[in-house]
Symmetry: D3
Subunit: 227 residues, 6 copies
């Protein structure tokens, strides 16, 4: 049962070094390394091209049209955290703007991932404060109802526990459970190491059909060529 | 009842100085100053990043797939106007392109807000002619049926009367009724004046919880901290 | 009946010179020259601003969540081709990333038009490999089921035959049947030639109402001016 | 500027006899009689098939996720009224259920038109209390923020003033401004009278092409028959 | 290139007996028999539950907001035909109502499949005239621009040639190319014959895992059971 | 990390008596009793009006366009279970039809909740096998890739653990964590007991304003009446 009106102050954060390394590997590689899981819905988009970040999740759950808890979560941010904000129902209101961004940044936040709208996006871009959101909207919110901080939330279709690692870039947002951080990093790094060589071969004209040994399984599956 | 087939030529425009000042304050601030009203739906997006404008509304109502009235409205544009175009049903067709933009610009238009699609967007960007639209589409339109010019229209969920002030930027589009222009400017300017100081405090690490005096009402509402 | 599991290797491509010329004229002009037909749905967007291309279509049909056939189609690409990818049902998964782009580019592809999602979009932008897609998603795909290559496909609402010319830019994507290429080029070029003069007149303040002789038909249709 | 926190108690209602007669004519006919205007967006659907009603509008404006004002509007309902509820931003929450329906019905309401969600729809159907909404959702709302009653609202794209006539059936919802009620009724009735005869002819195999004299204008427009 | 302004009067219709038999087998079975192809997008829904039909396609292509060609296509209907209507851009307007339905029915039409909106849906239900559409909308259309009749069209993502068989029921709409009608019927009938036996076994508690021999391929693919 | 390719056979189911009692109370009441949490997105709709069920969740996670695991989950169903099916990306394909329904029913399943499409919906209605889905689509799926059974899944925005209670009716679908079942039942029953009395008072014309003591807080919040 979602607890509303509670702020959990002591959460166990994943290792911030691992977060940084996963961030460098990027969302697509990390998502593959996790067995193609943990991805938020593709409607989550960065507010400016080239935004890229990674951090440990501090979560917040809010009601539609009410951003009161964003002020509460600000106090819980530690350097290296990334705020993940969920709403109990679909809402595109602008929950977050330049004043909150100034505060989050001062607290050391690496960015915001919010399943709702944000505003002041030009200023946020100038501040280089990275945000992934469902919408951009100038629509303001009220401060009237309680939500919670640092409870597990479902954000844009993905389950996020406080302390999980969240990686976000132009390709979207992926959540790495804290307990899987180390092995995910290994798998992702291995995958990445493998890619440079492949890229060089493909650039030279090699075909994936040959490089990945696909011709035989395609033939077995019944693929037929007609000249 | 929507009048179709009528062009009102004499409209009372709001003060263009106020329009310019509201434009400088931006959509989010103006929208807040209006008591969080007057905003168009967030699906209205600028065709290039950084687009920003404000002007007095010249309105046009059209049928789906038919842009004939955009040629009629061109003649009604005076310097400082911004054209607000509504369609009687949902349509993403490209009603507007570089030729019309050239004409609108020559007439002194500050931009276009259209609840439909536009095209030639690269050229429009090069011309720095700002447009907010629901879609980008190369799909052309016909010129077969009458609409109206300078009647009140509902555009992207907002009511716009001819002569109202319309402010648009990266955060969306807001409509300020002509009769509310002066007091909205005062409220928006007061709000803005107030923000610089807040920003400095937040940047220095102050919390909104303290700055806005939220701790007590949050506690009263039942917020519980768990260490 | 859609053939699945077949690769047609010999297709008749439209003239690549005509493709290049149509590309220079742009999607909106070509679409108009075709009598306002052949356009894909406006949800197809370029992954970076300013992307623009034209080529002869090599088509591929895939199942949702399965990009195996993209490796098959790579072998069929000839310099000047543009890959058009359709899926048998709506899907936003990331079918295509930087490795496949490296391969496609090495084979001479002019770009990709895909009615699904793509990923590694920052790298694709750096490579200047133009892609039009329905979504951006890091979500990976499997390689388990057969589709077909170089069969006629419906992509984003438009019918594409292998060898047709496809033109894509910021305004969207348009398909020119191979058999109509020559006459479309003529019509588009004529249209274009006509526009420079119009643009100059409009920039000087002329009204479309006069330039296109619209006053009389508008009056006949019943347009009424109220001073 | 939207006034928030105000209840207007004295509104001038259109004639309820006219409302009833317009209701009998149906949404499509009334919409045509109004020159194809006044229609809400087609996402507004009845919660049960066959729902049909008409009444004088009592309006209410609310914030997303907050239905407090529905209790306020209940007191303003007079027999023959139909409640029109708008929200300041997109929201699918369930604002209205069987208890409020019981109350509205007891006050004489003819139904509800709401640009948001409702719940308890099976019970509402059993009560035969007609509702048109954007969504069905069990998601509850809070009672924390003020809106207004009997201010002009934009509901599902249509402007509604308190006292206007609203007609709703399986085809959607149409708004007839109070001042246009009489002439709309005449136009709608004339249109209806005309249809019985047409229907009989068409049922006997007559073609609209002949009945409406379309052959000549089609030929003039260039329609070409190929045998 | 889409021809606009042309009516093809002589089309080769598929066998109406086969159409009727395919209709009895239903959309899901026919779609499977076609190798899972030919299906329209799932947003196409019947206007009343239980609607079911099949016929030979008479096609019509129209512009957004303009239903003039529906009067033209009426004359081309022969008993056993089903009208398939496409629009050159997305549109939800109500193109079709009870008068046109009366006419279509009198001409022997088996129903309508339209990638747009319809109205008078209660009356259409009472007439038992089956319609599959993208939307229900009372929004009327104009009669101003030419489209075409009996040209190939893309309707809701599926390619339809005049004379093809179209089958529609609660599960959606599927198109069977005229040349594939006979073999599709055989495949569909074989599939159906096979299902009664399967159904009896499953009802008796047999598992698909055993009945379809899936245990071995699942184990080979790596499926792991944890007790 | 989502485990793919695993079937957990021993899950701890919540009490089936409590499930039945929660089902009788209905989704809206249960959702309120849970503090307005646990609800799936409102796009989840029953395939026939009046569908209503409750059971203990058996979960299944699948890839887009691949329903192989539905055959695997069938074996894990015990009487009183309700299958909850999630997909790793958005997909509207028809994963489930009458044969699987026959099998599920024979195993004692109370219904299916699936964040994707289903088909054979008329037959499913005749069988009175209740299904809540995102779409209806005849589009068939392949059987090529592994997913998992009885892992935690996010379905339509809600987190579901195997053994949780799921309640579904016309208002949507709500998930009650197994550990909260008993207290949720108490809260829901208390809420229900309370409603009969309220309903009677409201039916007699009492106002919620008085019954819930809202006049004073509304006045305090600043509500203003204008006569």
């Amino acid at each position: 049962m979602n607890e509303l009106g509670v702020v959990y102050r002591n959460i166990r954060r994943a290792d911030s070094d691992i977060a940084a390394k996963l961030g460098a590997l990027g969302v697509a590689t990390v998502h593959e390394a996790m067995g193609r899981s943990g991805l938020m819905k593709p409607y989550m988009r960065p507010i400016y091209a080239g935004a890229s970040t990674a951090g440990t999740a501090v979560t917040v759950l809010m009601h539609p049209g009410d951003n009161w808890m964003l002020h509460v979560v600000a106090e819980e941010i530690r350097p290296g955290d990334l705020v993940v904000a969920a709403v109990t129902a679909d809402c595109t209101d602008g929950y977050f703007g330049d004043l909150l961004a100034t505060s989050f940044k001062a607290r050391g936040a690496r960015g915001l991932v919010i399943d709702a709208g944000v505003r002041d996006v030009r200023t946020l871009g100038e501040m280089q404060f990275p945000v992934w959101s469902k919408a951009v909207s100038a629509k303001g919110t009220v401060k009237a109802t309680l939500g919670s901080v640092n409870v597990p939330v479902v954000c844009a279709g993905a389950l996020v526990h406080p302390g999980d690692i969240v990686v976000a870039d132009d390709d979207g947002v992926v959540v790495v459970p804290a307990g899987d951080a180390q092995k995910t990093l290994q798998a992702a790094a291995a995958r990445e190491a493998n890619e440079g060589d492949k890229r060089a071969k493909l650039a030279a004209g090699a075909l994936g059909l040959d490089m990945y040994g696909m011709r035989e399984p395609l033939a077995r599956a019944g693929l037929r060529y007609v000249d």
